[in-house]
Subunit: 249 residues, 2 copies
């Protein structure tokens, strides 16, 4: 499994992903699921991936190859004129890779090679944009009503995102919110694991504002993990008490 979240704020875009891949609980590995490209001063793009690792690596590798051969006639995400066209390009490539595997005599084995992706970025003179790409190659874009996307194991970490998210929040608060959401997910699903990758893309700064890998030994994550338990308990005790005598019937 996997857990990735991309969110859009007034100030820009914040992305976080885990790195655990597994083929059974007895076979886990660490792989990067967040990939970033930037053309300083002109654009930056981040892609996060969930699903079959061979599929997602094939997509990322083909994107890389196209970036390195700009004379090639196949379109590159570093040259697409809009983020919409970047998302279209990634979607088509993802569908082609999945279909290529399934046509290869493996269709009867079901959707083993499926994957989904979050694509985020900004191109000069345009707005930052955030997309979620489905295995079929189509996609949806984040809006004012739905300002963040999750892929992978989305459920455990969702309630706190729904309550804590605020479009006008600072990048620091957004990172804190993501840390809590990831902590809840890691606590409940063994197939999501540290280290995490974090990337902050500030609006109109066409290179990462902040980028790091959060290790299991990270003092900030450890402090969030332990103080969140205590804070939740206090929040719980601050709620009005239930009384049995009001409850007849």
């Amino acid at each position: 499994m996997t857990y990735c979240v991309g969110m859009i704020l007034d100030k820009g875009l914040v992305m976080m992903s885990d790195t655990r891949t597994n083929s059974g609980v007895d076979n886990i590995s660490v792989f990067r699921k967040m990939h970033h490209w930037s053309v300083p001063g002109e654009r930056q793009i981040t892609i996060m991936t969930a699903g079959n690792l061979a599929t997602t690596q094939a997509v990322i590798s083909q994107l890389e190859e196209r970036n390195k051969a700009p004379s090639d006639r196949r379109p590159s995400i570093l040259e697409a004129p809009t983020m919409f066209q970047v998302a279209t390009l990634v979607g088509n490539l993802l569908r082609n890779v999945i279909e290529g595997r399934q046509d290869n005599g493996m269709r009867s084995e079901g959707p083993r090679f499926t994957a989904s992706m979050i694509v985020a970025g900004q191109i000069q003179d345009m707005e930052p944009r955030l997309f979620m790409i489905y295995p079929e190659g189509n996609f949806i874009e984040a809006s004012f009503d739905t300002p963040f996307f999750q892929i992978g194991e989305t459920k455990y970490g969702r309630p706190i995102l729904l309550r804590g998210y605020d479009r006008s929040m600072s990048f620091e608060d957004a990172v804190k919110l993501l840390m809590v959401s990831f902590d809840s997910t890691v606590a409940a699903n063994l197939s999501v694991g540290l280290p995490f990758d974090l990337l902050v893309m500030e609006r109109d700064r066409f290179e990462p504002l902040h980028q790091r890998r959060i290790l299991a030994s990270d003092p900030y994550f450890k402090s969030i993990s332990s103080s969140w338990s205590e804070a939740l308990r206090q929040a719980f005790h601050s709620l009005p008490d239930y009384k049995f005598d009001i409850g007849v019937g």
Copy 2:
């Protein structure tokens, strides 16, 4: 979908279930998923159900029929000598009902008729016990390490249960905890809905201590729902702040 939780405390057992059933989002109904039987002074048993409604109703109806015909040679949960035998009886009945449907020329349609159940109760001179029954008819029992069971849409409401549960908590606090867990689930999954059924079984009291239906208009649930958002936000803001300057690399 469904959401039911059964938990074991030092003081007894607390059960809560939703009542929404759906066959597509355009076809929802209200059905009771919690069923209670007691023999005052001797035993009380509660069963909560998730899964195919025709299956779970067939199981509950057959249990009821057996209770009404004590001379029948088929065993009744009101006469089984231990809670282990009650769970065995319910498990066998559940498996038989599911197999009966699948043998009926419908096996190829997959696990459409599947269901799972939580069985809880106490018989005089024995300990309160809590079981989760699988569609295959086998079951597991709650222990000191895993003192509550969820069935149905378990993920959204699980993080707060993991943090808030304490075996020595009062019944009132347990109900408060369940309200928060159900509120998080209802907020995220349309197929879980009010009203809820609540039942508290105190140790060595062989009839319900407290039993009620919580409607959408319930003032306590509404106050939990609104104050939990605020309490979570405060908990979130009480956490240490993230600082970008510690994050180079």
